[in-house]
Amino acid sequence: MRHDRLRALLTAGGIVAAAAMIGAAAMLVFALATGFDRSAVRADLPDVSARFAEQPLSLVASRVRALANVRKTAYRFEANGIGVQANSDSASGGVVEGVLPGERGYAIVDGRDVARRGEVVVERGLVHSWHLQLGDVVTLSGGGGTLDEKLVGVAVAPDSVAYPLQRTPRLYTWIDDARRLVGAGPDVDVALIWVNDRSQLDVTLAQARAASYGVSGLRFVTREGFHQLIGRAAGIVIALLVAFSLVALAAAGVMLAASAAAEVQRRGEAIGILRALGATPAQIANGYALETAALTAPAAALGIFAGLLAVVGPTRRLLNVLNELMPGTGDTFLLLAGCWAASVVLVASATWFPAWRAARRPTVQALRGSDVVLTPRRVPLPGLAGFGARLALARPFRATALIAVLSASAAVVLLILTIATVLHGLEHDARTLGTQYQLTVPAGETSIARVRAIRGVADAAPRYETNAADSFELGESFQLIAFPGDLARYEAPPLASGRRVRSSGEGDVGLGLAQALDLHVGGALAAQLPSGREVRFRVVGIVEALRNQGLLAYVQPKRLLAAMPDLTADIAVKLGPGADLDRVRDVLLSRGVYSQRTGGIAQDYGVSGTFGRTSFLRVLAALLRSVAFLDGLVCLYALAQMLALIARERRRAVAVVRAIGASRAQILAVFAGSALLVAAIAAPAGIALERFVLGPEVARLAVSYVTLPLRSGLEPVTTVLAGLAVAVVTSAGLATRAATAEPIVVALREE
């Protein structure tokens, strides 16, 4: 009895562990996959957000009212570059959204909305970051004056990531206060539009463009656009977290089912006795299924709750970062109840079917004992490890399921590590952006000769850069970057089509710009410069530039300088092979010139507009590595579970091997052989899955304007193989410890 109670406790412990994984994974998948939609609904995010140069409300409202399909509207005045200070914290460059009575487009998650002047609602990220409380005074300072506002509410709007990942904090005040901060008149510069029929949104936007005569600087962002922007910032992370969670779910499900089946296997003899006493297979299977369900129900509930507790904190933090909301209590309860029911049904079914199958065997065969007696595969594997491999192969379905779980896990881990490496490269390695020079010196062309004369410097050239807008649509802004001569010697993002620039009338455009303006090789790029002049280039190539989302063009400086004579250059400095970068910088500094390393995004541009901050890349990389670590634990869990099942099913066989003289190390070799077989098949399968399916697919989904190098290289492959080796040894060690802790005679006695 005591022995049975202990076994039941062990079984329940396994169910708790597997159910915890199910609860954690399901919560993560649900919370992240539905985060944007849930938050958008709660915030009543507008279908279209239109920004434009300041206009009288009456003018804008009359134009919007004239559009068909508009359900409701709201207007704001957005004050940018506002200093924000509260308690002892401060930030510059804040965005203050001045609101009018009516619709909002954000959700109040604490306190209340702005109702009058002198009140402010603050975005949740800032409140958490600065530990603000309702009633605190927030001081806002702009070019038009300083205001002390009382914090009355906390808001969330999923149209951007949260402070401090987005470095500009966002606050909502009464519209008059926002205007006063920048000394603006009674105008608005933002219109929020909700439509009746979202499928007709394109038509509405076309009408709006047509009706925007006289409204300058007009830009639309749709609700789907916000979703994509958030997706660019965190889509990969969410996709990987979801993939990881699905892998964990599959692993837990397979292991729960296999564990239940093994329990039935152990009771083979009892099933034979019941059959001999006249019980039908259905009666036996029902009995065992009910018994298992009774054990599983409380254990699964406990496990799922534990899993929820484990992930609810990190999930909330991640959603906070994304400006999204946690699922409601009701939804969470329904989800977890579903997981609980599925776990119980899964275990009961996994018990019922093998019990039914065992009960249908000839009774005499069932009476012979509980050890697994399958027709084993004749696999010519030598030694004790070979014997272990055959033990694994004796259960081909389980081995296959485990191989699938491990290879999927290995592929996800590889992908995660590769993405983390790419993110690191984006942040720090200029070559990832196609940059071929190492230093930038803020000095004019006249200094080039002196810079070239420094030992270690291979070459130097002036680099011109300016913002421009597309002359045809006057909406799409981009960067123009110019080098004299062969500019690919200095910046050479991969060519997607066409060729490099050879003359001053030619341009290579980024894929992002080509997509936005529907540009092709042979077409014309018309750039409106800040000077008001227009300059045109013939598109000769399209490059996969990651910088500025590919919204750029590379040209030679002649035409650019003709249109902008006062445009100044920096000097791009290329070092020779083996040159000491720090020494060159020191020499430059000794001559009174401060130089900058050409890093990646950390030192350069945002990878994805307003969200592309280096700190965010670091957070993403750290998060991805954490997920990779968790996924590694899933591998270890899956392997350890398989070996535990083998040890349990084959305890008498292991006891026999021990009886005839096997040492602990030799038992370890047996279990390691089982694990090694599975890992040896899963590893190449996982690598192939990542290199040929996941990597290219995620690269395609992540950013359309470049080809990210997401095929795993030697380093992540080595890391994953080493991780698998550690998992093999660790799981084999655990199984050996459990198997050899039991006296040999106890296992031999179990007939």
Partner: protein, 223 residues
């Protein structure tokens, strides 16, 4: 005459705790010489298998001493017992306990592999199989063999490392009469070639072949 291969004195082994404790061995003494086949009989639950497990280093005594070829089993740690089992003891079980994943030859060679003697033992194993009439079934899996063939394979496995002591627990219990006699003759042969053989049995044919028959009663061995 030299000292016996097996020398057990005052063996005590109990199962259960407190008032429910049962002493299945209660001061049992046993000497077994090389070349001797000793049969142990007794009622079910009298402790016969327990005695065999203690002699083979599979279990530990609560009290008493066991020496096997001069090695004090009662003092050895698990590693020492493992070495003794591998080097000095061969087990034959009632249910054969062949590993179903391994062929007949692989099963026989397993103890030699554990002793890292696999290559040298291979000719020995083949010779054993030939002598036991198992050459034709050496490459087959146990599940395809008859009970008699399986038990002969188990005996070959027990002998492959040339142990000094062979312990057989009801070796004929699952066999028909003809197969049982063949197995007993093999054990007799093992004893005649210098090994000590201790077998636990209910089989009259086995006792007839034994040099000595001991009865286990009330935890002690009686002539």
């Amino acid at each position: 005459m030299g000292s016996p291969l097996v020398r057990a004195r005052g063996l005590v082994k109990a199962y259960g705790e407190g008032r429910a404790a049962v002493r299945v061995l209660d001061g049992a003494d046993l000497d077994v010489d090389r070349g001797e086949l000793v049969a142990i009989v007794g009622r079910s639950g009298s402790g016969k298998s327990t005695l065999l497990h203690l002699l083979g280093g599979l279990d530990r005594v609560d009290a008493g001493t066991i020496e096997l070829a001069g090695a004090p089993l009662h003092e050895l740690d698990e590693r020492g017992l493992t070495t003794v089992r591998r080097r000095d003891v061969g087990f034959v079980f009632q249910a054969f306990h062949l590993l179903p994943e391994l062929s007949g030859l692989e099963n026989v060679l397993l103890p030699a592999q554990l002793a890292r003697d696999g290559l040298e033992a291979a000719p020995r194993a083949r010779e054993l199989l030939r002598r036991l009439g198992l050459t034709d079934v050496a490459s087959r899996l146990p599940s395809t063999l008859s009970g008699g063939e399986q038990q002969r394979l188990a005996i070959a496995r027990a002998l492959v490392n040339d142990p000094a002591l062979v312990l057989a627990d009801e070796p004929t219990g699952n066999l028909d009469e003809e197969s049982g006699i063949a197995v007993l003759e093999l054990l007799r042969l093992a004893a005649d070639t210098g090994r000590a053989v201790v077998l636990v049995t209910h089989d009259r044919a086995a006792t007839a072949l034994a040099d000595r028959v001991l009865r286990l009663r009330a935890g002690r061995l009686l002539q």
